[in-house]
């Protein structure tokens, strides 16, 4: 059997990589992909605890996370396309209209 700790550590590694990618990359699409990585690492943690407590409720929550992620991807990418139409760029540095 594989220890629970391995799955949790993989989940932590993926979450931290997602956070790092979100701040390192400068274009909106890749930042968005970093958010998806973070959601997936949370899913992995949910499934790990669902297994270690022998309950199915964690798997149900993973379904809802996937649903929300799909909705979020559809709306977010539509917003990115609108930004690209207006600004001709999806670099986050160019979106400085609110900068004080």
């Amino acid at each position: 059997m594989i220890p629970t700790a391995f799955f949790l550590i993989l989940s932590i590694v993926l979450f931290v990589l997602g956070v790092a990618a979100f701040f390192i990359k400068r274009d909106l699409i890749t930042m968005f992909m970093a958010v998806e990585v973070m959601l997936n690492s949370a899913n992995l943690a949910f499934l790990t605890f669902a297994k270690s407590s022998a309950s199915l409720d964690g798997q149900v929550i993973v379904f809802f996370v996937v649903t929300v992620a799909a909705a979020e991807a559809a709306v977010g990418l539509a917003i990115i396309l609108v930004v690209f139409k207006r600004k001709k760029s999806i670099q986050s540095d160019d979106l400085d209209i609110m900068k004080g």
């Binding site: 990359k25 890749t30 997936n40 899913n43 409720d57 559809a74 207006r86």
Partner: protein, 165 residues
């Protein structure tokens, strides 16, 4: 056998995310992420969640990443001007990542020390999952379907808008 499979899949998924970070081409980033999510689907399968694993591969590595591929196709593929200068944000990002990693490891240290095995088998039945989804979590299921419709209509109305010519 299972631990070897786990290490292969874990390396593939973490390596896919690293590849997404380092690749300059956005299309390559998306493909690396498809690899990472497919490998993560395999990890879900190791956690006795075969249906969730199938959903992960079909919905995440399939549907959602196809959306990203289309978005990359519509905008330009590469960063026209990758900023070479070391911005303070990047240094802070690395610092934040290290601190967060240490913090999260600290949070799970009891489980890591206990090294408990991943529970007894018995979470595999998809029938139980389905009845849970349509009995105990029926309201949440319906709310999720309304959310999907709202997101669909919102995305269409946003992307269909005419930009300033």
């Amino acid at each position: 056998m299972a631990p070897i499979l786990f290490f292969i899949l874990a390396t593939l998924s973490a390596g896919g995310v690293v590849g997404m970070i380092v690749s300059k081409d956005r299309a390559h980033s998306v493909l690396f992420l498809v690899l990472a999510f497919a490998a993560l689907g395999g990890v879900f399968g190791l956690l006795d969640a075969p249906f969730v694993a199938a959903v992960q591969v079909l919905v995440y590595a399939g549907a959602i990443m196809v959306l990203f591929v289309f978005a990359v196709m519509i905008v330009d593929r590469t960063d026209s001007r990758e900023n070479k200068k070391k911005s303070p944000v990047r240094i802070f990002a690395r610092l934040l990542a290290i601190v967060l990693f240490a913090e999260l490891l600290l949070a799970v240290r009891e489980i890591v020390r206990g090294m408990g095995n991943a529970g007894p088998a018995g979470g595999t039945d998809t029938v139980g999952l389905g009845s849970l989804l349509f009995e105990k979590y029926l309201y949440q299921m319906e709310i999720a379907s309304i959310l999907i419709i709202a997101a669909l209509i919102g995305a269409i109305s946003l992307a269909g808008k005419r930009g300033p010519k």
